[in-house]
């Protein structure tokens, strides 16, 4: 979690938000980008907001259905703090209206659960383009 560069470039700081420990570990383990540096994981929107203020991530993966503060509300708050943040929603909610709402709030990508490692990495690559 230091400030070392990767191939001469500043790494992208990654925050993973999901109420499932298994999913948080899965995303951390499966993402294959050496320029992504995990700075924290959170189990709900409140925790995410606190960690966001402390770690200033560039990339966030965001679940939607979570206790205390859901992902949609959290996205709005994160984007208000840092408009340039890149947010990938990773959610089981598969209706179009939810995806559209998340994008309107400021998300940059949407990946449905369940997902393969390849789908995850393609979605993250798209996000960092």
């Amino acid at each position: 979690m230091g400030n070392a560069t990767v191939n001469g470039k500043r790494p992208f700081k990654l925050l993973i938000v999901d109420d499932s420990n298994i999913m948080r570990r899965r995303i951390e383990r499966s993402q294959q980008f050496e320029e992504l540096q995990l700075v924290g994981t959170a189990g709900n929107g409140f925790e995410a907001l606190e960690l966001f203020k402390k770690t200033d991530p560039d990339v966030v993966t965001m679940d939607l259905t979570m206790p205390r503060m859901d992902g949609i509300e959290c996205i709005s708050k994160l984007v208000a703090l840092k408009p340039a943040v890149r947010i990938l929603v990773i959610s089981a909610l598969a209706d179009k209206a939810t995806a559209v709402e998340a994008m309107e709030k400021g998300a940059n990508g949407f990946l449905n659960k369940p997902f393969t490692d390849r789908q995850l990495n393609e979605a993250i690559a798209e996000l960092m383009r």
Binding site: R26, L93, A94
Partner: protein, 148 residues
């Protein structure tokens, strides 16, 4: 009460979960209807449904099946807490995927998890349940769908 096409949504969601997350397809038995609370396995993930439909969706599975599922997902933590996390996540994923057909007014709760052989399952009086039998590798589980 569920229509046949709606039941198909849950069958497809279950099939998709095992194909993608567990990388091994499940065999889905013929769904059947029953009154009262069905028997459950050691771990049960419950999703409460509200909005245009009301009721519950739950996924119940034995520890042995969940252990293999975790191994297939490259997990190395097989604790009680992780088993609970997994059944909740399976129930959440299948219920959330159902919104592709039911729409956003099919509101799902965060998962609650019950463990033990005779937990107190939420059941609305007079509401019948569809049971979707799931066979995966040598294990059996079920998805229970009980909706207005």
């Amino acid at each position: 009460m569920l229509y046949e096409q709606e039941l198909k949504t849950f069958v497809e969601g279950t099939t998709n979960f095992f194909e993608v997350a567990a990388q091994h397809p499940a065999s889905i038995g013929s769904p059947y209807l029953m009154e009262g609370s069905p028997s459950v396995h050691e771990y049960t993930g419950v999703i409460n449904i509200s909005g245009k439909r009301e009721g519950v969706v739950y996924f119940t599975a034995p520890k042995a099946m969940l252990t293999v599922l975790l191994m297939k997902m490259q997990e190395n933590d097989f604790s009680h807490e992780t088993m609970k996390d997994l059944v909740g996540e399976v129930a959440n994923t299948i219920s959330g995927n159902a919104r592709r057909d039911f729409g956003r007014d099919f509101v799902i709760s965060v998962p609650s998890v019950l463990s033990g052989e005779k937990p107190a399952l939420p059941q609305r009086p007079g509401l019948r349940s569809f049971i979707i039998p799931i066979n995966w590798r040598s294990h059996s589980a079920k998805l229970v769908v009980s909706l207005t």
